[in-house]
């Protein structure tokens, strides 16, 4: 039994197997696996007795439910008007230089993915970004470098 199948079984037991519980289950899988693989979508469809295409259609609608391989930490920079006015591009440049990847890519070692997202609701502390579910605001290039280094170390410590 793959770990994902087991995870999906528990999520289904916890949330229920109706169509309206689909989104919580999808979120549960993304929280763990960082993305929805083809296999996991099929398992969800089997568990909830739903057509696979419906699961795929619903999942691809929401920007947080990724369906491509993602790194362990997903960095999401807010690109809406106030953040982009307050220097979001410099932040992106700094991260790109540090991690050697462009927006939309994942680092070769699979630790970080860099994405852009729409308004995070921190316009008064722009620019802002999310790393997985943590919010970081009033970013400056130095602050970003510092945040990333301790993520890399934290990452290092876990290994």
């Amino acid at each position: 039994m793959y770990p994902v199948t087991e995870l999906i079984k528990n999520l289904a037991d916890r949330h229920g197997r109706e169509r309206r519980n689909l989104l919580p289950i999808l979120q549960g899988v993304v929280e763990q696996e960082k993305y929805l693989s083809e296999y996991s979508m099929i398992e969800i469809a089997r568990e909830l007795d739903l057509p696979a295409s419906e699961v795929y259609g619903t999942a691809t609608f929401y920007s947080f439910l990724e369906y491509k391989k993602m790194g362990k930490y997903i960095i999401r920079i807010c690109k809406t008007i106030t953040c982009s006015m307050k220097g979001k591009n410099q932040i992106i440049k700094t991260i790109e230089d540090m991690l050697k990847i462009n927006v939309g890519e994942t680092t070769p070692d699979g630790n970080f993915s860099l994405l852009q997202t729409n308004c995070l609701g921190f316009c008064h502390k722009a620019p802002a970004m999310l790393i997985n579910y943590e919010v970081y605001t009033d970013l400056t290039p130095e602050k970003v470098r510092e945040i990333l280094t301790n993520y890399i170390n934290k990452k290092g410590r876990e290994e």
Partner: protein
């Protein structure tokens, strides 16, 4: 009775039932409102916004298909605001569309083309988006081609696959400008659960979903002098073909169809109805044997009810959805495949032809037959039983291509050896037809008397409602079947895969127990199949059904076992139904498939 309300449409006062949508109210008063994502078979989506109308007093325009009328509404379907908006919306649709109509399969029969020509879009000022998008064409499936550059995202196919067929092969994916109709993980239609029933083709307003056509291959076969090209035509083709060539819906063009096929250059024009009668003989006997094993030998693992197996869309559906219930299916092949097998054995021997030189073509109202003809187990004659399958639409195109003036053709009969057919064969094309044909023969074999229905029309299995049930009491059968005395033969008929699912679920849960169930993949049976002329809607299906039953009443022979050519084939070649040779040629087996 819902109370009537008064509204005015284009300053014409009208009284209609409350709750009718503005679109229906307008239609009743002779005002045409353009629609694209609206279809009589499907629920109202209201997402193309082409049918917006102005309600006096409201700033925003409302969609006529989705807005119910309220008392005192003053509706303008052609005010300045409406015309401007409608023109803009159509132009927006065109800016995303690959407008190369001359090379499109649906040229001349496309709702977007008609809309653009009716509402004369002459300006071209929006930026062509279709060029900057990398549209893909999926042509791996033997039945269906999906061309995204022609899709206007009206979601009619998604709603068809969900509401009528319950298969959900297609869904809407992504969001914003990347939104598109796609399968699971954008896989080719051939790799997902699609049953090739073609209902999505029938409901698609543009050329985004069309059938894979084999017109070129058939023309080449005809042109090849050394090949002996034979063609078989399905029961539902003769009452659908007329619509493509200028006749009203429900006109019977059997004789003209045969004449046209001969004019096209086919060496022998024969009738699938012949093998429909053959199917009745085989399947009827199989049913009798199952009943015998169930009631006499008390054999536990005999599977009752027996399900018909002539709809390949239904077969692929059950293989996907109920892989371990395949035992219910009758082992008989579909009439098309039976014909194919016999063509390259019995017919070849009788006409002293080399089977390798025979090219067997079939004209079907169905796109799933294209998939069925290249299933691995359909090579029992040593060669591929049916080489090419054409839909009714493709035949109409070939007739036009050959420059045949169809209206003025005089009728011609089918060729011999496999062209004779009975009324029971013809009604295969309508839902409940196979059941009625089977009952006419089985009842007579068992009791020696003909079916106790006036003029042999077993009305309870007729009509368009989703699931139909009927039961016939068997009294004083002939002695060979006397164990059936007093047994109430319970049968059911389901058309449209969603209804099929209902019946299957009730069988598995033991809620209902029938002896014999007819399943058809398409609503209305084969007459509403995926290959029939477009448009197809409830009234057209009813008219086609009337035509089929009229053809049945007009036939001299009405029961399959009276067909002389059938009797001839049994004593020359097959010896007896369910005999050793029948098993080798006319029966098949099924393979379970992954559901996802």
């Amino acid at each position: 009775m819902a109370k009537n309300i008064k509204i005015t449409i284009n300053e014409v006062a009208v009284e209609i039932e409350s709750g009718t949508s503005i679109l229906d109210a307008a239609r009743q008063t002779g005002v045409i409102i353009p629609t694209l994502c609206y279809h009589k078979d499907l629920c109202v989506a209201g997402n193309c916004r082409v049918c917006v109308v102005e309600i006096v007093g409201q700033k925003r325009l409302s969609a006529a298909c989705a807005t119910p009328c309220e008392d005192g509404m003053d509706i303008l379907t052609n005010s300045f605001k409406v015309r401007n908006s409608r023109k803009h919306i159509i132009e927006l649709l065109l800016s995303e569309h690959n407008a190369d109509c001359t090379r499109c399969y649906k040229n001349g029969n496309c709702e977007l083309q008609k809309l653009a020509s009716d509402y004369k879009i002459m300006t071209q000022d929006f930026i062509r988006l279709s060029r900057s998008k990398n549209y893909t064409i999926d042509h791996y499936s033997p039945s269906i081609i999906k061309d995204d550059s022609k899709c206007i995202r009206c979601q009619r196919c998604v709603r068809t696959c969900e509401e009528i067929q319950g298969v959900n092969a297609l869904t809407v994916a992504y969001k914003g400008d990347r939104m598109k109709i796609s399968t699971f993980f954008e896989k080719p239609m051939n790799d997902v659960i699609c049953t090739n029933c073609g209902q999505c083709i029938n409901h698609c307003p543009t050329g985004a979903l069309v059938e894979k056509n084999y017109i070129e291959e058939v023309w080449d076969a005809i042109a090849d002098k050394s090949a002996h090209v034979i063609v078989q035509t399905a029961p539902a083709v003769r009452i659908g073909l007329g619509e493509e060539l200028g006749f009203k819906a429900g006109t019977r063009v059997t004789g003209k169809m045969v004449a046209a096929l001969k004019r096209l250059g086919f060496d022998a024009v024969m009738d699938t109805d012949f093998s429909a009668d053959l199917t009745i003989m085989e399947e009827g006997t199989e049913l009798m044997m199952r009943l015998k094993r169930a009631l006499v030998d008390r054999d536990p693992e005999v599977k009752l009810p027996m399900a018909t197996s002539c709809s390949p869309g239904w077969i692929k559906y059950i293989e996907h959805m109920y892989p371990n219930q395949l035992g219910y299916l009758s082992t008989c092949k579909s009439p098309q495949q039976m014909f194919g097998a016999l063509a390259k054995t019995y017919y070849a021997k009788a006409k002293k032809l080399d089977p390798d030189k025979i090219v067997s073509v079939s004209i079907m109202p169905c796109t799933a037959k294209k998939f069925e003809s290249n299933r691995p187990e359909m090579h029992d004659s040593g060669f591929r039983d049916v080489d090419y399958v054409l839909t009714t639409r493709e035949l109409a195109i070939m007739i036009k291509q050959a420059g045949i003036d169809f209206m003025r053709l005089e009728d011609m009969p089918f060729d011999s050896l496999m062209g004779e057919s009975t009324g029971a064969g013809v009604i295969f094309g309508a839902t409940g037809g196979v059941m009625e044909a089977a009952l006419r023969t089985v009842y007579e074999l068992v009791t020696g008397r003909s079916v106790p229905f006036e003029n042999l029309n077993i009305t309870p299995v007729r009509g368009m409602d989703g699931v139909k049930e009927a039961s016939i009491k068997i009294e004083s059968p002939i002695e060979e079947w006397e164990f059936l005395d007093g047994v109430e033969l319970k049968c059911a008929v389901a058309h449209g895969l969603l209804n099929a699912k209902k019946v299957m679920d009730s069988i598995i849960s033991g809620e209902s127990h029938y002896h014999f169930v007819e399943f058809m993949a398409c609503p209305g049976g084969c007459l509403g199949g995926g290959g029939q002329p477009i448009p197809t809607n409830p009234e057209i299906r009813r008219k086609r059904a009337e035509a089929i039953y009229a053809e049945d009443e007009g036939m001299p022979l009405r029961k399959s076992h009276q067909n002389p050519e059938i009797l001839k084939i049994y004593n020359d070649f097959l010896l007896k139904p369910m005999g050793e040779r029948s098993h080798q040629l006319l029966h098949t087996k099924y393979s379970p498939r992954e559901r996802f």
